[in-house]
């Protein structure tokens, strides 16, 4: 009980110090406020940018892509048959084109669907074609899709600006075509487009929708049809596809899913991290910059607090000596000045939090109409708030600790003797 009372005196002295030099206290608090608010703003802004970029990237990038394309064919029948030293002459040698397709699509889809980390699976039949309308002939590609799964994975329906995505389900000769491709071909909704495959197959499709993604390259060259029609056009059966796409609940778990299924699948499995290393690098770099800048600001605020605390202690050196002469111990003095620092830190953290959210939401109103954005992006994360408060308070207490320790070591006789 006596201990509690003693701490209460220390707190009372600390609060008198804080309130009798108000402007000093306010300046010190503002330092922390600024540091904490910048930390929150910088990180929320960078998160917003990262999230925008990710949303954009994952609007047509699956977490895992399974295909047969990178399979290396090192098999050389000549080397297999003849011993290395043999001299031979082969004329008119031809390479047979290697398989680039998945022949057992349903099995692969089943395997992937059985994984508990897996959220959505869809298969595609992709191939290049000529789009023809009258005398116009444009090189592009067809994506034969499973409309429901495709939409679940990439939100395709939201990008359709005319017609309905889901009509692909039952309109077997319907086609949803990229906006610029449609313009280049001069076709509108309900017009017909003829397509010609590399193998010479040709078929008319009816434009039942127009799609606009945020990616120009796709809008200029791609059209979507039902996967069944695509197989028919290529003369393949229902188990055929060119790739199987997989999305996970948590996209950071790709490597373990690949490790678990690689053997059973037997095809090339490419994770989004491998496919888009620059995406990963860019968001990591942005996070580093945000943290570095905001920590630098906190550091500057820390020096400000250190200076103010030092000044306070130099001004109060006689009072400290008197307190010690009356029986306050070095620990009490440390306690008094650390209490001051903690109060400054707490008030700075709380006001910094409010200011940080204020600045962020103001920036979030600034118009910015690029790549699907309408305003500058802001994304709040609890972790940033927690880190801002913890860093703010730790900086303040550290900045207060060294002057406070100096104060606690003051020898009262030296001061009082004068």
């Amino acid at each position: 009980m006596a201990d509690k009372k003693k701490n209460k005196v220390n707190r009372q002295i600390a609060s008198t110090h804080l309130t009798s030099k108000k402007w000093q206290t306010v300046v010190a608090i503002l330092g922390v406020t600024f540091g904490v608010s910048m930390y929150i703003f910088m990180n929320s802004f960078m998160n917003g940018v990262n999230k925008t970029q990710d949303d954009l990237a994952f609007s047509n990038l699956a977490h895992i892509r399974i295909d047969n394309e990178n399979e290396k064919n090192d098999y050389d029948p000549v080397k297999a048959v003849f011993s290395p030293a043999t001299i031979f002459n082969i004329s008119g040698r031809k390479d047979i084109q290697t398989e680039t397709d998945i022949k057992n699509t349903n099995e692969i889809v089943d395997i992937m669907n059985r994984q508990q980390e897996v959220k959505d699976v869809t298969s595609q039949v992709n191939f290049s074609v000529f789009f023809r309308n009258g005398s116009k002939k444009i090189n592009g590609s067809i994506s034969g899709v499973d409309p429901e799964n495709e939409n679940r994975m990439f939100g395709s329906a939201d990008k359709v600006i005319a017609g309905k995505w889901i009509d692909l389900n039952y309109m077997k000769s319907g086609m949803i075509i990229g906006k610029e491709l449609a313009e280049d071909l001069g076709v509108k909704l309900n017009d017909n487009v003829n397509i010609l495959t590399p193998d010479g197959a040709s078929k008319n499709f009816n434009v039942i929708g127009i799609i606009e993604t945020s990616i120009k390259e796709i809008d200029r060259s791609r059209a979507y049809i039902n996967i069944g029609s695509a197989r028919q056009l290529l003369g393949e059966n229902f188990d055929y596809s060119t790739c199987v796409l997989v999305n996970l609940y948590n996209r950071d778990e790709t490597s373990q899913v690949v490790a678990n299924t690689e053997k059973a699948v037997g095809y090339n499995m490419e994770t989004w991290q491998d496919a888009n290393q620059q995406l990963v690098a860019a968001s990591q770099l942005r996070n580093i910059i945000a943290s570095a800048v905001s920590l630098a600001i906190l550091l500057v605020a820390g020096f400000g607090i250190y200076n103010i605390m030092n000044m306070t202690i130099n001004e109060k050196i006689r009072e400290i000596a008197i307190l010690k002469a009356m029986g306050f111990s070095g620990k009490d003095i440390l306690n008094i000045f650390l209490t001051q620092a903690t109060v400054i830190g707490l008030l700075g953290a709380v006001t910094g939090l409010l200011l940080g959210v204020g600045i962020s939401s103001a920036v979030n109103q600034v118009p910015f109409k690029v790549a699907g954005l309408t305003t500058l992006p802001i994304h709040y994360q609890w972790g940033d708030f927690a880190a801002a408060i913890i860093f703010g308070i730790i900086t303040t207490i550290l900045a207060g600790y060294f002057p406070a320790r100096k104060a606690s070591k003051i020898d009262p006789v030296v001061i009082i003797r004068g």
Binding site: K6, T16, A325, G327, V413, I416
Partner: protein
């Protein structure tokens, strides 16, 4: 702390020696020994520079850089830790400084209350009551709620005396505690000190250069050149 026997000495010093090293090595106390009885009102006189203040800082336990032995209330304090000494000062010693008196940001009343709050043995109401009583004793109750820095030098010194009394310390030490007071107030303080010593058994040790003050105390020690020359 140990209970005080009526016959024990309140203070014993044996062979105190102290040096200053700045600007050059200089022996300021050259082997000072004396005892003070419990309830005694003692004055220390001597020429300026004879070492009175230096001696008093050693006696107050604030200065620990000395040779020899210091015991207060039968307890050897030489060689104790700073924390122990702070706690001892808080409970057993009241000190009135020569110049630096009060915490300027606090009121007179708060200044008087601080050592008692630190000691934590009374409730806040008791402390406030006692602080008012001390201030009234020194005729300062009307200044109680004034900021310490708004008071005159003499008033500040009397608040400092009230503060020294608040914890009922067994020993009160003052370095020219009436130096800033007019003769009327000075006499009043001397009366208070004498009452505390004779009626409540508190020991008073005052450095002074006022011979009238010294004459009214129970005993006077005279210092010269770092030595006690008469008891």
């Amino acid at each position: 702390m140990t209970t005080v026997n009526k016959n024990t000495n309140a203070l014993e010093v044996k062979n105190l020696v102290k040096y200053f090293y700045d600007p050059s090595k200089f022996q300021v106390l050259k082997g000072v020994s004396f005892d003070v009885k419990k309830g005694e009102f003692l004055s220390i006189i001597g020429k300026s520079g004879s070492g009175k203040s230096t001696l008093l800082y050693v006696l107050s336990t604030m200065d620990t850089d000395y040779e020899g032995n210091l015991s207060l209330n039968g307890q050897l304090l030489t060689g104790q830790t700073q924390n122990k000494l702070s706690a001892f000062r808080n409970e057993h010693i009241g000190f009135v400084f020569q110049f630096h008196y009060l915490l300027p940001e606090f009121t007179a009343l708060e200044n008087v209350m601080l050592p008692a709050k630190k000691l934590g043995k009374m409730s806040l109401e008791e402390i406030e009551h006692k602080a008012y009583e001390s201030l009234r004793l020194l005729d300062l109750h009307e200044q109680a709620l004034k900021g310490a820095n708004k008071l005159s030098g003499g008033q500040q010194q009397r608040v400092a005396i009230a503060r020294a009394l608040i914890n009922n310390p067994s020993i009160i030490m003052g370095d020219e505690p009436t130096g800033n007071l007019d003769s009327k107030n000075s006499l009043a303080v001397q009366d208070i000190f004498r009452d505390l010593a004779h009626e409540f058994g508190q020991t008073i040790i005052c450095v002074t250069h006022d011979n009238d003050f010294a004459r009214r105390t129970d005993r006077t020690i005279e210092m010269e050149d770092g030595l006690v020359i008469s008891h």
